[in-house]
């Protein structure tokens, strides 16, 4: 079993097809809740969350032993940003891609799938 990060990409400003009315919002929520329950039942859901936008982001720079500099804003100024993510357990890439397709269907957003190289706490002896 491997773990994958499914990043939900959003475009800045209003997005075509994004829920605009309360009814659409309810339908959107319904789809996402149903999907997360499905992930749970399949034992795929590890963690997930929705993020505030880039205007709530802060970057800390510096280096080991150097002064740290804190600045307002996202690390990379871009039209698209990660609006949320899932971490899932999946047998292989095809299984992860199948979940990603479902997330695209439920959220109407594009998804980037990335395998974890390692997970959990770094331990001695590695």
């Amino acid at each position: 079993m491997s773990q994958y990060l499914l990043s939900v990409y959003e475009a800045e400003g209003s997005v075509q097809g994004a829920p605009a009315t309360p009814e659409e919002m309810r339908a959107f929520m319904g789809r996402v809740i149903a999907l997360e329950e499905e992930m749970d039942r399949a034992g795929a859901f590890v963690f997930g969350g929705a993020l505030h936008g880039p205007d709530a982001a802060t970057v800390v720079r510096g280096g080991t032993g150097l002064d740290k500099i804190t600045t307002d804003g996202p690390f990379v100024e871009a039209k698209e940003h990660v609006g949320g993510f899932y971490i899932i357990d999946a047998e292989d890439l095809d299984a992860a891609l199948a979940w990603a397709e479902k997330v695209v269907e439920a959220t109407n957003h594009d998804i980037e799938v990335r395998p974890f190289r390692a997970t959990g706490r770094l331990e001695d002896g590695h």
Partner: protein, 398 residues
């Protein structure tokens, strides 16, 4: 290419495929097969090429891979297990069930949609067709180092992202198979475009033949094979002059390839599951069936284009259809259809060339010359440019 080299190429795909299933590691499989080839290079010239070269390579590579995995702790159990696994090696690679599935697994892994297309092609030629990295590099006109990096990156992604080593299930198969066929057709066309890369064309045909044998129930594979064979009747398009279909010496076409392609097309027509490759092959078969250009059955060709455009509605198909329609309904109708495609194909030299041809037929010589001139400016190869400029100049001379 001598016997040993040929045997290596044929053995490479089945051997890597089987080793990958046994050890679950594409890189290890490739290295072990490489080592087995080195051993073979030493022994075969002395003892003769064995009856079943692929089987010999698999056995030797398996011992080699077991030696490698024994060196680490995790591998020891695996090695013991595989050592007990019995003689998979004695099997004939093209017919035995496990090896058949192994090869399909390898092909579908190399052509996985999570890999970019140029990586899919490179991996398929390297691992399935057994071309050396240098041969793959020269097939795609890139440096050896660039190609080596490309192969390393592709194999890294397979491993890191855990691209599975399996044959897609029935629901996924059509989409995944289309990707495989595109890769094979791309390899074929890369070979067709250069006389010096003839070998690549032959390899693409060999792989498509293999795939057709592995997936006998998929008519699109037979369709692609038929399309390749009917195209292969012509010499590779190299630096030679362009010769229009109308002017080709049909007695010089390769009759054996044509006959094989036409037999495949007939099978496809009987199966009645015509996809894009089968329809293109059927159109080619009709061209091949005419012993003179004037005998071409254009009405039948238009009917196949109608069906092709229904499943493959691209501007280039519409362009080819318009050219065929002009032969049946006349140049005015053909030109009308071509002009409808202007917004999509204004940058495509063959659209301008087709317009030039129909305008000339309608006696509109100045416009025809201008169309050929524009086509020449947009042409992608020197022979095409020379040919199109020649047409334009002939039209302007009088």
């Amino acid at each position: 290419m001598d016997d040993v080299e040929r045997a290596f190429r044929v053995a490479h795909g089945p051997a890597v495929a089987t080793l990958t299933r046994l050890f679950g590691d594409l890189g290890l499989a490739e290295d072990a097969v490489q080592d087995a080839f080195v051993t073979a290079l030493d022994r075969w010239p002395r003892d003769g090429v064995p009856d079943n070269p692929a089987g010999w390579i698999v056995t030797t590579a398996r011992h080699r891979a077991i030696d490698v995995v024994r060196r680490n702790r995790r591998g020891r159990e695996l090695a013991a297990e595989i050592g007990r696994d019995g003689p998979t090696a004695a099997a004939d690679p093209e017919t035995s069930e496990p090896m058949r599935d192994d090869q399909l697994r390898l092909i579908f892994t190399c052509c996985h949609p999570a890999l970019r297309v140029e990586h899919q092609v490179a991996l398929t030629l390297r691992l399935v067709a057994g071309l050396t990295p240098a041969e793959v590099a020269s097939a795609f006109l890139v440096g050896e180092e660039t190609m080596a990096k490309r192969l390393v990156r592709a194999k890294f992604k397979i491993k890191a992202a855990r691209i599975p080593y399996r044959v897609p299930d029935d629901a996924e198969l059509p989409g995944r198979l289309r990707a495989v066929l595109e890769v094979l057709y791309l390899a074929y066309n890369a070979g067709a475009d250069g006389a010096g890369r003839h070998d690549l064309r032959a390899e693409a045909v060999r792989l498509t033949r293999l795939l057709a044998a592995l997936l006998p129930d998929e008519p699109e594979v037979a369709g692609l094979l038929a399309l390749m064979l009917s195209d292969a009747r012509l010499p590779a398009r190299g630096r030679e002059d362009v010769v229009l279909l109308r002017d080709q010496d049909r007695s010089r076409w390769d009759g054996a390839l044509i006959a094989e392609g036409q037999a495949l097309v007939l099978d496809c027509l009987r199966r009645r599951r015509l996809g894009p490759f089968q329809l293109q092959a059927a159109i080619q078969a009709l061209h091949c069936a005419a012993s003179r250009y004037e005998e071409t059955d254009w009405a039948a060709i238009v009917r196949f284009y109608d069906r092709l455009i229904a499943v493959m509605p691209t501007p280039v198909v519409a362009l080819n259809r318009a050219v065929a329609v002009a032969e049946v309904q006349g140049a005015v109708e053909g030109l009308r259809l071509l002009d409808e495609l202007g917004s999509e194909l204004a940058g495509y030299h063959l659209w301008h060339a087709a317009r030039g041809s129909l305008l000339r037929r309608l006696g509109r010589r100045t416009e025809a010359a201008a169309a050929y001139e524009r086509a020449a400016e947009l042409a992608r190869s020197e022979p095409e440019r020379r040919f199109l400029r020649g047409q334009s100049e002939t039209l302007r001379r009088r």
